[in-house]
Symmetry: C2
Subunit: 194 residues, 2 copies
Amino acid sequence: MSLTPWRLPLARALHRNRSQPHSHYLQLATITHEGLPANRTVVFRGFWSDTDWLQFVTDSRSEKIIHIQHQPLAEACWYFTKTREQFRLAGELILITAACEDKPLQLARQAAWEKLSDSARLQFAWPSPGKPREKEKEAFTPTQPSESEPLDNFCLLLLNTKKVDWLELRGEPQNRTLYLLKGEKTWSTQLVNP
Amino acid sequence: MSLTPWRLPLARALHRNRSQPHSHYLQLATITHEGLPANRTVVFRGFWSDTDWLQFVTDSRSEKIIHIQHQPLAEACWYFTKTREQFRLAGELILITAACEDKPLQLARQAAWEKLSDSARLQFAWPSPGKPREKEKEAFTPTQPSESEPLDNFCLLLLNTKKVDWLELRGEPQNRTLYLLKGEKTWSTQLVNP
């Protein structure tokens, strides 16, 4: 099986920027149900199995859930600060909730929960994000959730990428490469002006 | 004149992260004319005069110009890696092209050009961004443009912010504050759950 062409430069960027914890942070843009752009930082949790689908985790109570249900198309922008390169990844988001009946996807959700740190798992037991601030400090010190039983509001979010725009600012001149999904597993690669 | 309430935490973040050149980089999400999200890294060039309008520069030949003309509403996501805090700034983009007849805005465009580095100015003389790669190396070594005469394709881009969502990941628990523009210069401030 041949590797998707943008996976190699992305793997190289992840490796070369590995000393920086924020190298796993990227910005995910979606569209609200009112048709407005929304943009927030998310954490890359690796690729799902042997696919090209990026994994993130999210809370079913967060605003972006409504956006995704209305419009699953998204664009992630991933800037690597050390090597000065940017990957723009456009594609379709797939939300895996507790109610998902697809067994492999439900197992992926379970595995993502197990891989979280204790403090990340605890945040899913916090009060509803975006609602007026809970004044009781106890609301933010709930019982530690089980490591093996995902809370119902815990979701896995997958990005099935259809287009990648890779910009290397360090080139002389800069380099920019466009990758487009042409068939099920066929990608075109084109060098374009930066 | 009272300071807009989100300007103080943003000024503090810029100060505390000043050792990192990428602290001036943020991700700007817009909507394409097909209604899809687009997201790319831009460089913050300070506030315009005594307003709360963020300044960026862009090329009239770049894709985002068409997006902005179709839908000027945008959301910027600004993550500060050292202090671990995020500002989401939603508002309206205002594009200042060479043809803009508003004198103060045209002067702002002129000033932004003059403040650019030589290498940043040179990029506006490069071949059209996003088009198939020019093979002639000379295309990327044009004559250095004048410091005082902006090239016609040079644009100033302003973000007139209407909503700010500030998240501090370092809090115990995390802190999140919402600022909403209520009148011409009146802002509401609300603490919300992270």
